[in-house]
């Protein structure tokens, strides 16, 4: 039933390879373009890449920690 070409393992592997290649290119572009960093950290190599990645990891970690305290079954207010 579930044989859509997008869900095949081979397609997914190809998409990952493509995605990683694009990631590498966007970071590689840092060698080529002129940068006008506004603040100190902005000038570090691949700033957008590592800062974006680190921000997301931090946000998910914060959300998980908050969720541990504040999550309730979704019928909580119905009872």
């Amino acid at each position: 039933m579930d044989d859509h070409w997008l869900t095949r393992t081979s397609t997914i592997r190809l998409l990952w390879i493509l995605f990683i290649a694009i990631l590498a290119v966007t970071v590689g572009l840092d060698f080529v373009i002129d940068q006008h960093p506004l603040f100190g950290l902005g000038g570090t190599f691949g700033f957008g890449a590592w800062f974006g990645f680190a921000s997301c990891v931090a946000l998910v970690a914060i959300a998980k920690a908050l969720g541990a305290v504040l999550k309730r079954p979704d019928s909580y207010y119905d009872s």
Binding site: M1, D2, H4, L6, T7, F19, I22, L23, T26, V27, L29, D30, I33, D34, Q35, H36, L38, F39, L41, G46, F47, G48, A49, W50, F51, G52, F53, S55, C56, V57, A58, L59, V60, I62, A63, K64, L66, G67, L70, K71, R72, P73, D74, Y76, Y77
Partner: protein, 562 residues
Amino acid sequence: MTADLLAIPPGAVLIVGGLVLPLLGAPLRKALLLALPILTLYLVWQVPDGVVLETRYLAYRLVLVKGDALSRLFATVFSVMALAGALFALNQARVVELAAALCYAGAAIGVAFAGDLLTLFIFWELMAIASTVVVWSGGPTARAAGLRYAAIHLLGGVLLMAGIAGEVAATGSVAFGKLSLDSLSGWLILAGFLVNTGAPPFSAWLPDAYPESSWSGMVFLSAFTTKAAVYVLLRGFPGTELLIYVGLFMVFYGIVYAILENDMRRILAYSIVNQVGFMVTGIGIGTEMALNGAAAHAFAHIIYKALLLMSAGSVLFMTGRRKCTDLGGLFRTMPLTTICGIVGALSISSFPLTSGFVSKSMISEAAGQEGLMIVWYLLAAASAGVFLHAGIKFPWFVFFQKDSGLRPQDPTWNMRAAMILFAALCLTLGMAPTLLYSLLPFPVTFVPYTADHVVFQLQLLLFSGLAFFLMLGWLRRTLTITLDLDWLYRRLGVKLAGIFYVWATVFWKSWSSVVSQRGRGVATWLQRRYGPDGDLAQTWPTGAMTLCTVLVLAAYLILSSH
């Protein structure tokens, strides 16, 4: 011709139209639903700078319509939103929702052109009433949420009215311009405005009420209340530093709660708070570029957020399901809804070539130019977080993820047309930003498409995408909600009321017996003394009366002889 048309406030067309809508037959109703927003849009563009329509009420000069670039910008996007929303909702069977939605849009346009505080307040409250009706049109499950929504907005209205009364008492004028926080009335007006933006501590009303509306209702709800509040903040409180911190809190609140959420429309509701947070931050920074950025972002946001909610609304309409845990794999049979949802998701994430990129980056740039380093870093981190919580999360869990086994088709032609219209607008504004920039209140010097800016944004977003897929296990959806400050009135308040009821009953029962016993005693005594058979009600003999008179006269004689 033009002079006559000027006498019609643009918002009134939609309000009156909305009120007569339920009286009409289906064909005429559908025609008016599309024609009225177009007429309104035409009227909006006819409004020149300055006062257009005024009247006197008591001692006050009410300015019903006053135009400038900022007013026209918001009124334009409100009209466009009314048009696309009406197109999307054309086959909504609950006519009362459509009627309320038109009044709601008209009231928002009324706010955008209001030249004084009283006119502003009237349209502000009209928005609250009309939007409550839209929430209630969601059906029986929306009743309680709609009531909570109305209560919060009436509270906001009370704060606003108290502030306006104070302002008028102090200055003698009802004119609406830049306000100061030197007096209590200024703070009250700010608080009234902020309630409608979804600012803390009143953020929870938005994800509580909006997702309970119908598949079409939330498309309208997402656009007007919060953005009208952004408009009044832009006009009343530009450069108020407090707003930077309020805005940043909203930005991260929206992200964190959306990450934890399972309901697709609640995810999008949290992301409204998040996006309005960017605008509020821009208003707080207060430079011309920041205010332009906030206004531009409101314009772009209304369009891509409505697009996202049309996409989610189509899924809800076709499947009747809202939870990510029930959805997934819909891309197979809903290709157009998927693509339009992805365009909306890329726009909210400020992907280059979409509308979000040309608007949100102005706010970050303004923070950078002002030397607000921490603000700039936080906005950059939040931009990555937007892609995480809305940009990927929404399309991934609804359209891809796993195969839910659901095979719904794309929705009806009018819903598809509305989505295509707004998807095209998102891309057009992103590729031709001058269209948007020419409408802004201040001249634009900002250039969005520079090499380093585009590369930075691509790195930021693509690596947050990488983070999403690497952390997918952590982001797995569960059948949960996340508690918010509305717990105070939905749980604690109810509990306290329950306890109060029990104690009041006990108190009443014990004291009422004591009180009634005492009362009966008093009544018996009064009866004995003053009743028909009491001491004072007896008939006395005439002799006694004569004796009393003699005694009084004798006393008079003795006293007067001295």
